[in-house]
Protein backbone atom coordinates (compact mmCIF):
# COMPACT_ATOMS: atom_id res chain seq x y z
CA UNK A 1 0.00 0.00 0.00
CA UNK A 2 2.81 2.42 0.92
CA UNK A 3 4.47 1.77 -2.45
CA UNK A 4 1.21 2.62 -4.17
CA UNK A 5 0.83 5.87 -2.22
CA UNK A 6 4.41 6.96 -2.93
CA UNK A 7 4.07 6.07 -6.61
CA UNK A 8 0.86 8.05 -6.93
CA UNK A 9 2.36 11.09 -5.20
CA UNK A 10 5.47 11.00 -7.38
CA UNK A 11 3.27 10.75 -10.45
CA UNK A 12 1.78 14.14 -9.54
CA UNK A 13 5.06 15.90 -10.33
CA UNK A 14 5.02 15.32 -14.11
CA UNK A 15 1.29 16.08 -14.15
CA UNK A 16 1.84 19.42 -12.41
CA UNK A 17 4.71 20.24 -14.76
CA UNK A 18 2.59 19.27 -17.76
CA UNK A 19 -0.36 21.37 -16.65
CA UNK A 20 1.92 24.33 -15.96
CA UNK A 21 3.49 23.90 -19.40
CA UNK A 22 0.08 23.85 -21.15
CA UNK A 23 -1.21 26.87 -19.28
CA UNK A 24 2.07 28.78 -19.69
CA UNK A 25 2.16 28.05 -23.42
CA UNK A 26 -1.42 29.22 -23.86
CA UNK A 27 -0.60 32.53 -22.23
CA UNK A 28 2.65 32.84 -24.16
CA UNK A 29 0.79 32.44 -27.46
CA UNK A 30 -1.83 35.02 -26.56
CA UNK A 31 -1.52 38.08 -28.75
CA UNK A 32 -0.54 41.32 -26.99
CA UNK A 33 2.65 42.43 -25.30
CA UNK A 34 2.65 41.96 -21.50
CA UNK A 35 5.04 44.91 -21.10
CA UNK A 36 2.55 47.20 -22.86
CA UNK A 37 -0.26 45.81 -20.69
CA UNK A 38 1.58 46.71 -17.51
CA UNK A 39 3.03 50.05 -18.57
CA UNK A 40 0.06 51.33 -20.55
CA UNK A 41 -0.15 52.82 -24.04
CA UNK A 42 1.59 56.05 -23.08
CA UNK A 43 4.90 54.44 -22.05
CA UNK A 44 7.90 55.13 -24.28
CA UNK A 45 9.43 52.41 -26.42
CA UNK A 46 12.57 52.61 -24.27
CA UNK A 47 10.66 52.01 -21.04
CA UNK A 48 8.93 49.04 -22.62
CA UNK A 49 12.27 47.56 -23.73
CA UNK A 50 13.77 48.07 -20.27
CA UNK A 51 10.78 46.38 -18.67
CA UNK A 52 11.07 43.46 -21.09
CA UNK A 53 14.75 43.04 -20.21
CA UNK A 54 14.12 43.29 -16.48
CA UNK A 55 11.26 40.81 -16.46
CA UNK A 56 13.03 38.37 -18.76
CA UNK A 57 10.40 38.75 -21.48
CA UNK A 58 13.11 38.74 -24.16
CA UNK A 59 14.44 35.35 -23.07
CA UNK A 60 13.73 32.23 -25.10
CA UNK A 61 10.45 30.46 -24.35
CA UNK A 62 11.96 27.57 -22.40
CA UNK A 63 14.05 29.88 -20.22
CA UNK A 64 10.93 31.87 -19.38
CA UNK A 65 9.05 28.68 -18.60
CA UNK A 66 11.90 27.38 -16.43
CA UNK A 67 12.05 30.60 -14.45
CA UNK A 68 8.25 30.57 -13.98
CA UNK A 69 8.34 27.02 -12.61
CA UNK A 70 11.39 27.79 -10.46
CA UNK A 71 9.78 30.87 -8.91
CA UNK A 72 6.47 29.05 -8.41
CA UNK A 73 8.11 26.03 -6.76
CA UNK A 74 10.56 27.89 -4.52
CA UNK A 75 8.79 31.13 -3.62
CA UNK A 76 5.18 30.49 -4.55
CA UNK A 77 5.55 33.44 -6.93
CA UNK A 78 3.31 33.07 -9.98
CA UNK A 79 3.56 36.60 -11.28
CA UNK A 80 1.82 39.88 -10.67
CA UNK A 81 -1.58 41.09 -11.82
CA UNK A 82 -1.38 43.62 -14.67
CA UNK A 83 -4.29 45.56 -13.21
CA UNK A 84 -3.99 45.58 -9.42
CA UNK A 85 -0.18 45.01 -9.44
CA UNK A 86 -0.64 42.63 -6.49
CA UNK A 87 0.99 39.19 -6.52
CA UNK A 88 -1.28 36.69 -8.26
CA UNK A 89 -0.84 34.24 -5.40
CA UNK A 90 -2.30 36.77 -2.97
CA UNK A 91 -5.30 37.45 -5.20
CA UNK A 92 -5.97 33.74 -5.58
CA UNK A 93 -5.58 32.91 -1.91
CA UNK A 94 -8.16 35.57 -1.03
CA UNK A 95 -10.65 34.14 -3.52
CA UNK A 96 -9.95 30.44 -3.14
CA UNK A 97 -11.79 29.74 0.15
CA UNK A 98 -15.09 30.81 -1.45
CA UNK A 99 -14.63 28.46 -4.39
CA UNK A 100 -13.64 25.54 -2.19
CA UNK A 101 -16.56 26.17 0.16
CA UNK A 102 -19.01 26.35 -2.75
CA UNK A 103 -17.66 23.22 -4.46
CA UNK A 104 -17.40 21.21 -1.24
CA UNK A 105 -20.91 22.14 -0.17
CA UNK A 106 -22.26 21.18 -3.60
CA UNK A 107 -20.35 17.91 -3.48
CA UNK A 108 -21.86 17.15 -0.08
CA UNK A 109 -25.38 17.91 -1.33
CA UNK A 110 -24.81 15.75 -4.42
CA UNK A 111 -23.61 12.79 -2.40
CA UNK A 112 -26.35 13.10 0.22
CA UNK A 113 -29.08 13.23 -2.42
CA UNK A 114 -27.51 11.24 -5.25
CA UNK A 115 -26.45 8.05 -3.51
CA UNK A 116 -29.71 7.33 -1.60
CA UNK A 117 -31.79 8.16 -4.70
CA UNK A 118 -29.62 5.88 -6.83
CA UNK A 119 -29.91 3.00 -4.36
CA UNK A 120 -33.70 3.33 -4.00
CA UNK A 121 -34.08 3.55 -7.78
CA UNK A 122 -32.06 0.38 -8.23
CA UNK A 123 -33.85 -1.72 -5.61
CA UNK A 124 -37.22 -0.58 -6.95
CA UNK A 125 -36.28 -0.75 -10.62
CA UNK A 126 -39.12 0.34 -12.97
CA UNK A 127 -41.23 1.61 -10.04
CA UNK A 128 -42.78 5.08 -10.17
CA UNK A 129 -40.01 6.33 -7.90
CA UNK A 130 -37.38 4.98 -10.28
CA UNK A 131 -39.00 6.49 -13.38
CA UNK A 132 -39.52 9.91 -11.76
CA UNK A 133 -35.98 9.94 -10.36
CA UNK A 134 -34.49 9.04 -13.72
CA UNK A 135 -36.49 11.74 -15.51
CA UNK A 136 -35.37 14.33 -12.98
CA UNK A 137 -31.79 13.09 -13.29
CA UNK A 138 -31.95 13.52 -17.06
CA UNK A 139 -33.36 17.03 -16.69
CA UNK A 140 -30.69 17.91 -14.13
CA UNK A 141 -28.06 16.64 -16.50
CA UNK A 142 -29.36 18.83 -19.32
CA UNK A 143 -29.82 22.01 -17.33
CA UNK A 144 -27.14 24.65 -17.87
CA UNK A 145 -25.90 25.69 -14.42
CA UNK A 146 -26.12 29.40 -15.30
CA UNK A 147 -29.75 29.06 -16.34
CA UNK A 148 -30.74 27.03 -13.29
CA UNK A 149 -29.01 29.69 -11.15
CA UNK A 150 -31.04 32.45 -12.80
CA UNK A 151 -34.29 30.47 -12.41
CA UNK A 152 -33.58 29.92 -8.71
CA UNK A 153 -32.90 33.64 -8.25
CA UNK A 154 -36.10 34.44 -10.12
CA UNK A 155 -38.20 32.15 -7.92
CA UNK A 156 -36.63 32.42 -4.46
CA UNK A 157 -35.22 35.94 -4.51
CA UNK A 158 -37.33 37.97 -6.92
CA UNK A 159 -40.76 36.35 -6.49
CA UNK A 160 -40.76 34.89 -2.98
CA UNK A 161 -38.09 37.09 -1.33
CA UNK A 162 -36.94 34.09 0.72
CA UNK A 163 -33.25 34.01 -0.06
CA UNK A 164 -30.65 36.55 -1.13
CA UNK A 165 -29.57 36.52 -4.78
CA UNK A 166 -25.89 37.28 -4.21
CA UNK A 167 -22.97 36.89 -1.81
CA UNK A 168 -21.77 33.83 0.08
CA UNK A 169 -21.24 34.96 3.64
CA UNK A 170 -24.41 33.80 5.41
CA UNK A 171 -25.89 30.32 5.25
CA UNK A 172 -28.99 31.69 3.52
CA UNK A 173 -26.81 33.06 0.76
CA UNK A 174 -25.07 29.71 0.32
CA UNK A 175 -28.24 27.75 -0.43
CA UNK A 176 -29.07 28.89 -3.97
CA UNK A 177 -25.55 28.77 -5.44
CA UNK A 178 -24.83 25.33 -3.98
CA UNK A 179 -28.16 23.99 -5.21
CA UNK A 180 -27.63 25.37 -8.71
CA UNK A 181 -24.12 24.00 -8.91
CA UNK A 182 -24.99 20.57 -7.53
CA UNK A 183 -27.87 19.76 -9.92
CA UNK A 184 -25.65 18.13 -12.52
CA UNK A 185 -23.52 16.24 -10.02
CA UNK A 186 -26.65 14.94 -8.24
CA UNK A 187 -27.92 13.57 -11.56
CA UNK A 188 -24.65 11.92 -12.49
CA UNK A 189 -24.11 10.37 -9.06
CA UNK A 190 -27.72 9.12 -8.97
CA UNK A 191 -27.40 7.49 -12.40
CA UNK A 192 -24.03 5.99 -11.57
CA UNK A 193 -25.16 4.62 -8.20
CA UNK A 194 -28.27 3.12 -9.80
CA UNK A 195 -26.48 1.34 -12.62
CA UNK A 196 -23.66 0.15 -10.39
CA UNK A 197 -26.15 -1.12 -7.82
CA UNK A 198 -28.20 -2.89 -10.51
CA UNK A 199 -25.11 -4.70 -11.70
CA UNK A 200 -24.11 -5.78 -8.21
CA UNK A 201 -27.61 -6.93 -7.20
CA UNK A 202 -27.51 -9.56 -9.97
CA UNK A 203 -24.15 -10.94 -8.84
CA UNK A 204 -23.87 -14.51 -7.61
CA UNK A 205 -22.66 -13.62 -4.14
CA UNK A 206 -25.83 -11.60 -3.54
CA UNK A 207 -27.91 -14.63 -4.49
CA UNK A 208 -25.81 -16.65 -2.06
CA UNK A 209 -26.41 -14.11 0.70
CA UNK A 210 -30.16 -14.30 0.07
CA UNK A 211 -30.07 -18.09 -0.19
CA UNK A 212 -28.48 -18.46 3.19
CA UNK A 213 -31.42 -16.52 4.59
CA UNK A 214 -29.85 -13.13 5.16
CA UNK A 215 -32.31 -10.30 5.80
CA UNK A 216 -33.01 -8.29 2.65
CA UNK A 217 -31.96 -5.03 4.32
CA UNK A 218 -28.56 -6.47 5.25
CA UNK A 219 -28.14 -7.87 1.73
CA UNK A 220 -28.75 -4.48 0.17
CA UNK A 221 -27.16 -2.11 2.64
CA UNK A 222 -24.14 -4.21 3.59
CA UNK A 223 -23.32 -6.79 0.94
CA UNK A 224 -24.39 -4.95 -2.19
CA UNK A 225 -23.72 -1.35 -1.26
CA UNK A 226 -20.07 -1.83 -0.35
CA UNK A 227 -19.19 -3.12 -3.79
CA UNK A 228 -21.58 -0.87 -5.66
CA UNK A 229 -20.06 2.25 -4.15
CA UNK A 230 -16.55 1.63 -5.51
CA UNK A 231 -17.19 3.06 -9.01
CA UNK A 232 -19.33 5.79 -7.42
CA UNK A 233 -16.32 6.99 -5.42
CA UNK A 234 -14.38 7.51 -8.66
CA UNK A 235 -17.27 9.39 -10.24
CA UNK A 236 -17.50 11.62 -7.17
CA UNK A 237 -13.83 12.52 -7.56
CA UNK A 238 -14.25 13.35 -11.23
CA UNK A 239 -17.38 15.34 -10.42
CA UNK A 240 -15.39 17.48 -8.03
CA UNK A 241 -13.42 18.75 -11.03
CA UNK A 242 -16.65 19.49 -12.88
CA UNK A 243 -17.92 21.34 -9.80
CA UNK A 244 -14.73 23.40 -9.55
CA UNK A 245 -15.10 24.42 -13.19
CA UNK A 246 -18.85 24.94 -12.81
CA UNK A 247 -18.15 27.20 -9.84
CA UNK A 248 -16.71 29.69 -12.34
CA UNK A 249 -20.14 30.19 -13.92
CA UNK A 250 -22.03 29.93 -10.64
CA UNK A 251 -19.85 32.55 -8.95
CA UNK A 252 -20.39 35.03 -11.72
CA UNK A 253 -24.19 34.60 -11.47
CA UNK A 254 -24.40 34.93 -7.69
CA UNK A 255 -21.64 37.55 -7.40
CA UNK A 256 -19.48 35.36 -5.15
CA UNK A 257 -15.91 36.70 -4.92
CA UNK A 258 -14.26 33.32 -5.59
CA UNK A 259 -11.65 32.19 -8.10
CA UNK A 260 -14.22 31.85 -10.88
CA UNK A 261 -15.35 35.44 -10.69
CA UNK A 262 -11.75 36.56 -10.33
CA UNK A 263 -10.95 34.68 -13.53
CA UNK A 264 -13.94 35.97 -15.47
CA UNK A 265 -13.11 39.56 -14.47
CA UNK A 266 -9.45 38.98 -15.33
CA UNK A 267 -10.34 37.56 -18.74
CA UNK A 268 -12.41 40.65 -19.48
CA UNK A 269 -9.52 42.94 -18.45
CA UNK A 270 -7.00 40.73 -20.27
CA UNK A 271 -5.16 40.29 -16.98
CA UNK A 272 -3.54 37.02 -18.08
CA UNK A 273 -1.20 36.24 -15.15
CA UNK A 274 -4.28 35.98 -12.93
CA UNK A 275 -6.09 33.78 -15.46
CA UNK A 276 -3.01 31.58 -15.69
CA UNK A 277 -2.71 31.33 -11.92
CA UNK A 278 -6.40 30.55 -11.54
CA UNK A 279 -6.36 27.73 -14.10
CA UNK A 280 -3.22 26.33 -12.51
CA UNK A 281 -4.66 26.46 -9.03
CA UNK A 282 -7.91 24.76 -9.96
CA UNK A 283 -6.13 22.07 -11.99
CA UNK A 284 -3.76 21.32 -9.13
CA UNK A 285 -6.63 21.16 -6.63
CA UNK A 286 -8.42 18.77 -8.98
CA UNK A 287 -5.33 16.54 -9.24
CA UNK A 288 -4.99 16.46 -5.46
CA UNK A 289 -8.66 15.56 -5.01
CA UNK A 290 -8.27 12.79 -7.57
CA UNK A 291 -5.20 11.50 -5.77
CA UNK A 292 -7.17 11.42 -2.55
CA UNK A 293 -10.05 9.61 -4.26
CA UNK A 294 -7.69 7.04 -5.78
CA UNK A 295 -6.18 6.38 -2.38
CA UNK A 296 -9.62 5.92 -0.81
CA UNK A 297 -10.46 3.66 -3.74
CA UNK A 298 -7.36 1.55 -3.18
CA UNK A 299 -8.22 1.37 0.49
CA UNK A 300 -11.78 0.22 -0.26
CA UNK A 301 -10.88 -2.24 -2.99
CA UNK A 302 -8.64 -5.07 -1.75
CA UNK A 303 -7.89 -6.06 -5.37
CA UNK A 304 -5.90 -2.86 -5.87
CA UNK A 305 -4.18 -3.17 -2.51
CA UNK A 306 -3.15 -6.72 -3.36
CA UNK A 307 -1.29 -5.58 -6.49
CA UNK A 308 1.10 -3.55 -4.40
CA UNK A 309 1.69 -5.91 -1.51
Amino acid sequence: MLRYVVRRILFLIPVFLGVTFCVFTLLYLTPGDPARMVLGDLATEKAVQEFRDKEGLNDPFLVQFGSYVYKAATKGDIGRSYITKRPVMEEILTAFPYTIKLSALSMLISILIGIPCGILSAIRQYSIFDVVTMIFAMIGLSMPVFWLGLLLILLFSVQLHWLPSSGFDTWQAMILPSLALSAQAISIITRMTRSSMLEVIRADYIRTARAKGQKESVVIWVHALYNALIPVVTVCGLQFGVLLAGAILTESIFAIPGIGRLMVESIKMRDYPVVQGGVLFVAITFSLVNLFVDLVYAYLDPRIKAQYK
Binding site: S142, W147, I248, M263
Partner: protein, 289 residues
Protein backbone atom coordinates in the same frame (compact mmCIF):
# COMPACT_ATOMS: atom_id res chain seq x y z
CA UNK B 1 -42.93 -18.37 -42.83
CA UNK B 2 -39.28 -17.89 -43.55
CA UNK B 3 -39.76 -14.40 -44.92
CA UNK B 4 -39.57 -12.78 -41.49
CA UNK B 5 -36.24 -14.40 -40.79
CA UNK B 6 -34.97 -13.57 -44.25
CA UNK B 7 -36.04 -9.98 -43.85
CA UNK B 8 -34.24 -9.79 -40.58
CA UNK B 9 -31.11 -11.14 -42.20
CA UNK B 10 -31.29 -8.58 -44.98
CA UNK B 11 -31.18 -5.64 -42.56
CA UNK B 12 -28.10 -3.51 -42.82
CA UNK B 13 -26.32 -2.65 -39.53
CA UNK B 14 -27.82 0.84 -39.67
CA UNK B 15 -31.36 -0.53 -40.00
CA UNK B 16 -30.69 -2.96 -37.19
CA UNK B 17 -29.72 -0.08 -34.91
CA UNK B 18 -32.76 1.95 -35.95
CA UNK B 19 -34.95 -1.09 -35.30
CA UNK B 20 -33.63 -1.39 -31.79
CA UNK B 21 -33.70 2.36 -31.23
CA UNK B 22 -37.42 2.32 -32.07
CA UNK B 23 -38.09 0.26 -28.96
CA UNK B 24 -37.11 3.19 -26.76
CA UNK B 25 -39.73 5.94 -26.92
CA UNK B 26 -37.45 8.45 -25.18
CA UNK B 27 -34.65 7.89 -27.66
CA UNK B 28 -37.10 8.26 -30.57
CA UNK B 29 -38.45 11.49 -29.06
CA UNK B 30 -34.86 12.69 -28.75
CA UNK B 31 -34.13 11.78 -32.36
CA UNK B 32 -37.26 13.58 -33.51
CA UNK B 33 -36.37 16.77 -31.63
CA UNK B 34 -32.82 16.67 -32.98
CA UNK B 35 -34.09 16.28 -36.56
CA UNK B 36 -36.53 19.12 -35.97
CA UNK B 37 -33.73 21.34 -34.65
CA UNK B 38 -31.54 20.55 -37.64
CA UNK B 39 -34.41 21.50 -39.98
CA UNK B 40 -35.00 24.73 -38.04
CA UNK B 41 -31.29 25.52 -38.19
CA UNK B 42 -31.05 24.82 -41.91
CA UNK B 43 -34.11 26.84 -42.84
CA UNK B 44 -33.71 29.58 -40.23
CA UNK B 45 -33.94 32.34 -42.85
CA UNK B 46 -37.29 30.96 -44.13
CA UNK B 47 -38.80 30.11 -40.73
CA UNK B 48 -37.82 33.17 -38.70
CA UNK B 49 -40.46 35.92 -38.90
CA UNK B 50 -37.84 38.68 -38.62
CA UNK B 51 -34.10 39.09 -39.04
CA UNK B 52 -32.12 38.33 -35.88
CA UNK B 53 -30.71 41.86 -35.72
CA UNK B 54 -33.80 43.87 -36.73
CA UNK B 55 -34.54 46.32 -33.91
CA UNK B 56 -38.16 47.35 -33.32
CA UNK B 57 -37.41 50.33 -31.11
CA UNK B 58 -41.09 51.03 -30.34
CA UNK B 59 -41.56 47.44 -29.10
CA UNK B 60 -38.80 46.97 -26.52
CA UNK B 61 -39.23 44.43 -23.67
CA UNK B 62 -42.63 43.31 -24.92
CA UNK B 63 -44.14 40.09 -23.68
CA UNK B 64 -45.45 37.45 -26.07
CA UNK B 65 -47.99 38.82 -28.57
CA UNK B 66 -49.43 38.03 -32.00
CA UNK B 67 -46.65 39.93 -33.78
CA UNK B 68 -43.85 38.71 -31.53
CA UNK B 69 -44.72 35.18 -30.43
CA UNK B 70 -42.11 35.03 -27.66
CA UNK B 71 -41.84 38.77 -27.09
CA UNK B 72 -38.94 41.14 -27.74
CA UNK B 73 -35.63 41.86 -26.02
CA UNK B 74 -33.89 45.00 -24.76
CA UNK B 75 -33.36 46.27 -28.32
CA UNK B 76 -36.84 45.34 -29.48
CA UNK B 77 -35.55 42.33 -31.39
CA UNK B 78 -37.90 39.39 -31.90
CA UNK B 79 -36.84 36.65 -29.45
CA UNK B 80 -38.33 33.80 -31.50
CA UNK B 81 -36.34 34.82 -34.59
CA UNK B 82 -33.18 35.06 -32.53
CA UNK B 83 -33.79 31.63 -31.03
CA UNK B 84 -34.30 30.18 -34.52
CA UNK B 85 -31.06 31.67 -35.82
CA UNK B 86 -29.44 30.68 -32.53
CA UNK B 87 -30.24 27.03 -33.27
CA UNK B 88 -28.04 27.35 -36.34
CA UNK B 89 -25.10 28.67 -34.30
CA UNK B 90 -25.50 26.27 -31.38
CA UNK B 91 -25.82 23.18 -33.57
CA UNK B 92 -22.94 24.30 -35.75
CA UNK B 93 -20.71 24.85 -32.72
CA UNK B 94 -21.77 21.49 -31.27
CA UNK B 95 -21.18 19.47 -34.44
CA UNK B 96 -17.99 21.20 -35.57
CA UNK B 97 -16.43 21.18 -32.09
CA UNK B 98 -17.13 17.46 -31.79
CA UNK B 99 -15.76 16.87 -35.31
CA UNK B 100 -12.54 18.64 -34.34
CA UNK B 101 -12.30 16.59 -31.13
CA UNK B 102 -13.14 13.37 -32.94
CA UNK B 103 -10.67 13.96 -35.76
CA UNK B 104 -7.75 15.03 -33.58
CA UNK B 105 -8.50 12.69 -30.69
CA UNK B 106 -9.42 9.82 -32.99
CA UNK B 107 -6.21 9.96 -35.03
CA UNK B 108 -4.07 10.25 -31.88
CA UNK B 109 -5.97 7.43 -30.17
CA UNK B 110 -5.75 5.18 -33.22
CA UNK B 111 -2.00 5.72 -33.60
CA UNK B 112 -1.53 5.23 -29.88
CA UNK B 113 -3.49 2.00 -29.73
CA UNK B 114 -2.15 0.55 -32.98
CA UNK B 115 1.56 1.16 -32.53
CA UNK B 116 1.77 0.87 -28.73
CA UNK B 117 5.18 1.20 -27.08
CA UNK B 118 6.73 4.61 -26.53
CA UNK B 119 4.45 6.34 -29.05
CA UNK B 120 1.43 5.15 -27.08
CA UNK B 121 3.06 6.21 -23.83
CA UNK B 122 3.98 9.66 -25.08
CA UNK B 123 0.56 10.42 -26.56
CA UNK B 124 -1.44 9.10 -23.63
CA UNK B 125 0.64 10.93 -21.00
CA UNK B 126 -0.05 14.20 -22.80
CA UNK B 127 -3.76 13.30 -22.83
CA UNK B 128 -3.56 12.53 -19.10
CA UNK B 129 -2.18 15.99 -18.45
CA UNK B 130 -5.02 17.55 -20.47
CA UNK B 131 -7.54 15.40 -18.59
CA UNK B 132 -6.24 16.67 -15.28
CA UNK B 133 -7.60 20.11 -16.15
CA UNK B 134 -11.40 20.12 -15.79
CA UNK B 135 -12.85 20.27 -19.30
CA UNK B 136 -14.84 23.48 -18.94
CA UNK B 137 -11.82 25.15 -17.39
CA UNK B 138 -9.57 24.02 -20.24
CA UNK B 139 -12.07 25.40 -22.74
CA UNK B 140 -12.13 28.69 -20.83
CA UNK B 141 -8.31 28.85 -20.81
CA UNK B 142 -8.08 28.14 -24.55
CA UNK B 143 -10.88 30.57 -25.41
CA UNK B 144 -9.28 33.25 -23.22
CA UNK B 145 -6.00 32.95 -25.05
CA UNK B 146 -7.53 32.75 -28.55
CA UNK B 147 -9.97 35.58 -27.93
CA UNK B 148 -13.74 35.63 -28.56
CA UNK B 149 -15.37 34.58 -31.83
CA UNK B 150 -17.29 31.70 -33.38
CA UNK B 151 -14.30 29.85 -34.83
CA UNK B 152 -12.19 30.20 -31.67
CA UNK B 153 -15.12 28.98 -29.62
CA UNK B 154 -15.34 25.79 -31.70
CA UNK B 155 -11.59 25.20 -31.35
CA UNK B 156 -11.67 25.79 -27.58
CA UNK B 157 -14.60 23.44 -27.01
CA UNK B 158 -13.24 20.87 -29.48
CA UNK B 159 -9.67 20.72 -28.20
CA UNK B 160 -10.84 20.55 -24.59
CA UNK B 161 -12.81 17.36 -25.27
CA UNK B 162 -10.17 15.76 -27.52
CA UNK B 163 -8.52 13.57 -24.82
CA UNK B 164 -11.76 11.63 -24.17
CA UNK B 165 -12.02 10.62 -27.81
CA UNK B 166 -8.35 9.68 -27.88
CA UNK B 167 -8.94 7.35 -24.94
CA UNK B 168 -12.08 5.77 -26.35
CA UNK B 169 -10.61 5.21 -29.82
CA UNK B 170 -7.41 3.85 -28.33
CA UNK B 171 -9.20 1.29 -26.19
CA UNK B 172 -11.40 0.16 -29.12
CA UNK B 173 -8.35 -0.16 -31.35
CA UNK B 174 -6.55 -2.14 -28.67
CA UNK B 175 -9.43 -4.58 -28.35
CA UNK B 176 -9.64 -5.14 -32.12
CA UNK B 177 -5.94 -5.08 -32.98
CA UNK B 178 -5.33 -8.61 -31.71
CA UNK B 179 -8.17 -10.23 -33.66
CA UNK B 180 -7.59 -12.79 -36.39
CA UNK B 181 -8.98 -10.79 -39.27
CA UNK B 182 -6.38 -8.08 -38.57
CA UNK B 183 -3.69 -10.73 -38.65
CA UNK B 184 -5.13 -11.89 -41.97
CA UNK B 185 -4.99 -8.35 -43.32
CA UNK B 186 -1.33 -8.14 -42.28
CA UNK B 187 -0.67 -11.46 -43.96
CA UNK B 188 -2.05 -10.33 -47.32
CA UNK B 189 0.20 -7.29 -47.10
CA UNK B 190 -2.18 -4.43 -46.21
CA UNK B 191 -0.47 -1.24 -45.09
CA UNK B 192 -0.79 0.05 -41.53
CA UNK B 193 -2.93 2.99 -42.64
CA UNK B 194 -5.26 0.69 -44.58
CA UNK B 195 -5.63 -1.63 -41.61
CA UNK B 196 -6.37 1.25 -39.23
CA UNK B 197 -8.85 3.10 -41.42
CA UNK B 198 -10.39 0.22 -43.38
CA UNK B 199 -10.51 -2.55 -40.81
CA UNK B 200 -10.08 -1.29 -37.26
CA UNK B 201 -11.96 2.03 -37.13
CA UNK B 202 -15.18 0.85 -38.84
CA UNK B 203 -15.33 -1.97 -36.29
CA UNK B 204 -14.92 0.33 -33.32
CA UNK B 205 -17.59 2.84 -34.28
CA UNK B 206 -20.21 1.97 -31.64
CA UNK B 207 -18.65 3.58 -28.55
CA UNK B 208 -17.45 6.49 -30.69
CA UNK B 209 -20.94 7.24 -32.00
CA UNK B 210 -22.40 7.19 -28.49
CA UNK B 211 -19.66 9.42 -27.12
CA UNK B 212 -20.02 11.82 -30.06
CA UNK B 213 -23.80 12.16 -29.57
CA UNK B 214 -23.41 12.92 -25.88
CA UNK B 215 -20.38 15.05 -26.82
CA UNK B 216 -22.47 17.33 -29.05
CA UNK B 217 -24.74 17.96 -26.07
CA UNK B 218 -21.80 18.75 -23.85
CA UNK B 219 -20.19 20.96 -26.51
CA UNK B 220 -23.37 23.02 -26.88
CA UNK B 221 -23.64 23.38 -23.11
CA UNK B 222 -19.97 24.30 -22.83
CA UNK B 223 -20.16 26.81 -25.68
CA UNK B 224 -23.24 28.43 -24.15
CA UNK B 225 -21.34 28.72 -20.86
CA UNK B 226 -18.37 30.36 -22.55
CA UNK B 227 -20.65 32.82 -24.38
CA UNK B 228 -22.41 33.48 -21.09
CA UNK B 229 -19.19 34.75 -19.51
CA UNK B 230 -18.33 36.74 -22.63
CA UNK B 231 -15.79 34.38 -24.20
CA UNK B 232 -17.84 33.07 -27.06
CA UNK B 233 -19.91 34.66 -29.74
CA UNK B 234 -20.13 38.41 -29.75
CA UNK B 235 -23.27 40.51 -30.25
CA UNK B 236 -25.39 40.90 -32.32
CA UNK B 237 -25.16 37.19 -33.20
CA UNK B 238 -27.92 35.30 -31.42
CA UNK B 239 -26.11 32.53 -29.55
CA UNK B 240 -28.35 31.09 -26.82
CA UNK B 241 -25.81 31.48 -24.01
CA UNK B 242 -25.07 35.05 -25.07
CA UNK B 243 -28.82 35.81 -25.18
CA UNK B 244 -29.15 34.53 -21.61
CA UNK B 245 -26.23 36.64 -20.55
CA UNK B 246 -27.73 39.71 -22.22
CA UNK B 247 -31.14 39.24 -20.62
CA UNK B 248 -29.69 38.56 -17.20
CA UNK B 249 -29.61 42.16 -15.98
CA UNK B 250 -33.34 42.55 -16.74
CA UNK B 251 -34.36 39.37 -14.92
CA UNK B 252 -36.29 41.20 -12.21
CA UNK B 253 -38.65 42.95 -14.60
CA UNK B 254 -38.49 40.98 -17.85
CA UNK B 255 -37.74 37.32 -17.03
CA UNK B 256 -38.88 36.18 -20.49
CA UNK B 257 -35.56 37.41 -21.90
CA UNK B 258 -33.72 34.67 -19.99
CA UNK B 259 -36.49 32.07 -19.84
CA UNK B 260 -36.73 31.15 -23.52
CA UNK B 261 -33.04 30.87 -24.45
CA UNK B 262 -32.45 28.67 -21.38
CA UNK B 263 -35.40 26.50 -22.35
CA UNK B 264 -34.00 26.16 -25.87
CA UNK B 265 -30.64 25.02 -24.52
CA UNK B 266 -32.25 22.58 -22.12
CA UNK B 267 -34.54 20.98 -24.72
CA UNK B 268 -31.65 20.55 -27.14
CA UNK B 269 -29.37 18.98 -24.55
CA UNK B 270 -32.17 16.79 -23.20
CA UNK B 271 -32.97 15.49 -26.70
CA UNK B 272 -29.31 14.73 -27.44
CA UNK B 273 -28.89 13.00 -24.07
CA UNK B 274 -31.97 10.80 -24.62
CA UNK B 275 -30.74 9.94 -28.09
CA UNK B 276 -27.24 9.18 -26.80
CA UNK B 277 -28.56 6.95 -24.03
CA UNK B 278 -30.82 5.14 -26.49
CA UNK B 279 -27.96 4.67 -28.96
CA UNK B 280 -25.78 3.27 -26.22
CA UNK B 281 -28.38 0.59 -25.53
CA UNK B 282 -29.08 -0.02 -29.24
CA UNK B 283 -25.41 -0.37 -30.14
CA UNK B 284 -24.43 -2.50 -27.18
CA UNK B 285 -24.05 -6.06 -28.48
CA UNK B 286 -24.46 -7.38 -24.95
CA UNK B 287 -28.06 -6.22 -24.96
CA UNK B 288 -28.93 -7.79 -28.34
CA UNK B 289 -32.12 -9.77 -28.16
Amino acid sequence: MNTAIEQRKKRTPLMEVLFRLKKSPLAMAGLLVVILLVVVALFANVLAPYSYSKQHLTHMFEGPSKNFLLGTDEFGRDILSRLIYGARISLMVGFIAVSIALLAGGVLGAISGYYGGWIDNAIMRVMDVLLSIPQTLLAIAIAASLGPGLFNLMIAVGVSSMPQYARIVRSSVLSIRGMEFIEAAHAVGSSDMRIIFKHILPNSMAPIIVQATLGVAFAILNAAGLSFIGLGIQPPYPEWGAMLSGGRQYIRDYPHLTLYPGLAIMITILALNFLGDGLRDALDPKLKR
